[in-house]
Amino acid sequence: MPYYLSLAFKNIFRQKKRSFTLGVNYFVVAILMLLLFSFSDGVKKNFSGNLISAAAGHLTLSGGKVVKGKTLIGVSDYPKITKVIEDEYPGEVTVLARYKLTSTVYYLGQSKSLSFQGINTAKDTGLRDQVNFVQGSWADYVAQENGVLVSKDTADYLKLKLDDEVVISTRTIFGAFNTGTIRVKGIYESANYFVQGIVLCHFDFLQSLAMGDKLSASTLFVYFKNTDGLDVKREKLLGLLKDAGYVTSKPESSSDAISVVSSSTPKNKSEGVDVNENRLTIATVNEVVAILAQVLDAVNAAGGFLAAIMLFIIAISIFINMRMTINDRMQEIGTLRAIGTETKDIVLMLIFENVFLSLLFVLAGLTAALLIIGFVSNLLTLPPAGILSLFLDQGHLVLIPTLGSLGLILTVALLFTAIFSFFPARHGGKIRAAVALSKTY
């Protein structure tokens, strides 16, 4: 090891006060950035996980049937689509059909507009693992044709109890009102944001309430063994379904992808009465979460801006500290130059003093951040209510520190220090022995 490295290492705390003042800045920046990146990665993973468990597939299909220019929302002939997908990926894929609608519930003088989701209980059991029953059971719900599961919040609001029968009123796919009676067979709580508030019904019940034909569904969720190559798989399915007679498309934007998942009414242009076609749009889960990624990128950018301000302060501190250090250590620099130390070695020694200082405090900051993450993720429990549950897994904040984040923070901090130390260090290195010693004596 070059001797100036060991010298630099020994010199880190020569001016304790200055070193600690500068070090605290590195420490805080490291904590802040790691917490921010961990939060961002945690939310992305948690959001995607919750979304896939409840409200979307790896690929989600929705669409509409246009008859004489009028669009009936929903996927037409979903068994045909299912067969096309299963034939293409035998044994590798699960296709689930859901029926969704919004309906007003009337009970004991109270009314509330709720989102209903109809599932095929024999095949679509993923939601069972997302709910904790306060009353009733999954088996009771499955056994009753018009049985529903309601969230505890909804049950409390409408004063619903187990086995209550409730009238619901909704618009059918054609626009006419229809009414039906549901029976409460379970009251649940869920930590999954996308499950909270949903009234879970049977697929056939909702299909008949909406007066949809027997082959129609609101959306299809397609699950593969993993999320690799979703874009390629989507392209393949777009082609196959086009061959099967559908007019296929991809969402044009992230908000279009969200519309696919929520099966919301498409923004139709006025169409001629001669337009008759079955439309399908396929969105990947990555497109759906892209809007969240944009929000998180904005959050990260705000955090980055804060870190940049702190780094700017650090840069000024480095500059001032080094100028003071060089003045204080003129004798040492003069002596080193007198015994033959070259300019570049002096420069490197001064740079490495700062680099080692930043390495030490950034590592300390990252360690502290990991401890905070460990504490918050495991010991701090928050109520999984409302929008907060987007960030929670079983009541715990999801923070995922990745090696990439750790490496990035460390690299940026060290490079930054090296760059901003270079100019004052070069000044120190250029001082000639005679000049340095004459200033001292």
Partner: protein, 253 residues
């Protein structure tokens, strides 16, 4: 005097129909045609002020006041919200099947279902415009009934297609003047959803009637109803500009 002539003509129509044709569908269709002829004001521009009082159990009454401009000939109407202040500046503009809600807060027009509820009350926007029941429903007489002190003929309307709000309606038509006394709206599964009681009408031109008081009751939400009164009725010519989105925007300023 006009009322008596109108009632006389109607009685003549009813007598002729019953004598010549006892087919409930034909009689029902003729009655609805006559009704539409009376309540649609193709030859007139209509201006009036509606006051809606929504009553809900356990809540204070909610009052809305709207100014309506109606031109049935062109299938257009414009509605301006005048009260309360929180709703002021909002409005609807209907041009045949296209209904737009103007939101002054965002200064945008939102395309709405033509059967939209006005300000979340039990009154629907299609109540304000021209009625075109026979293009959407088939009619048949199902019997007679006494509603309060009025003898009525019950005409059931069954939707030809399901793109109407209420697939089944029952109109209780006054035997004397063929104006509605009560209308019941049913869902596709024949559940009674709403009942509208027409309390009073005003003859605005010869043989043309406009309701001045009605009560709309929500049959699913118990003890919820909306009372509507129609005042300041005018039949003067309305400037064409009133039937435009620009007019709504201008009025909200």
């Amino acid at each position: 005097m006009n009322r008596f002539i109108s009632a006389g003509l109607f009685l003549l129509l009813a007598a002729t129909l019953s004598a010549q044709n006892s087919d409930p569908a034909a009689v029902g269709t003729a009655l609805i045609k006559d009704l539409e002829n009376k309540i649609n004001t193709e030859s007139l521009d209509m201006t009036s002020t509606f006051t809606l009082v929504q009553k809900k159990e356990g809540e204070a009454d909610r009052v809305l006041r709207l100014r309506i401009f109606r031109r049935d000939t062109a299938g257009k109407f414009t509605i301006l919200f005048q009260y309360p202040d929180s709703e002021k500046g909002k409005g609807y503009y209907r041009d045949n099947d296209n209904l737009y809600l103007y939101l002054p807060s965002t200064r945008e027009f939102v395309f709405r279902n033509r059967k939209d509820d006005v300000g979340s009350t039990d009154v629907r926007t299609d109540l304000f415009g021209k009625q075109d029941l026979l293009s959407q429903y088939t009619a048949k007489v199902t019997g007679d009934e006494k509603i309060s002190k009025y003898d009525t003929t019950v005409v059931q309307l069954d939707a030809k297609t399901l793109d109407v709000s209420f697939p089944v309606q029952k109109w209780y038509l006054n035997k004397i003047n063929n104006l509605p006394v009560k209308v019941e709206n049913y869902s596709a599964s024949k559940t009674l959803l709403r009942t509208t009681y027409y309390v009073d009408f005003k003859e605005v031109a010869k043989g043309k009637f406009l309701f001045t008081k009605l009560l709309a009751k929500n049959n699913l939400e118990k003890n919820q109803s909306t009372l509507l009164s129609n005042d300041d009725i005018g039949t003067g010519k309305i400037p064409d500009y009133t039937f435009s989105q620009a007019f709504l925007e201008e009025q909200s300023r």
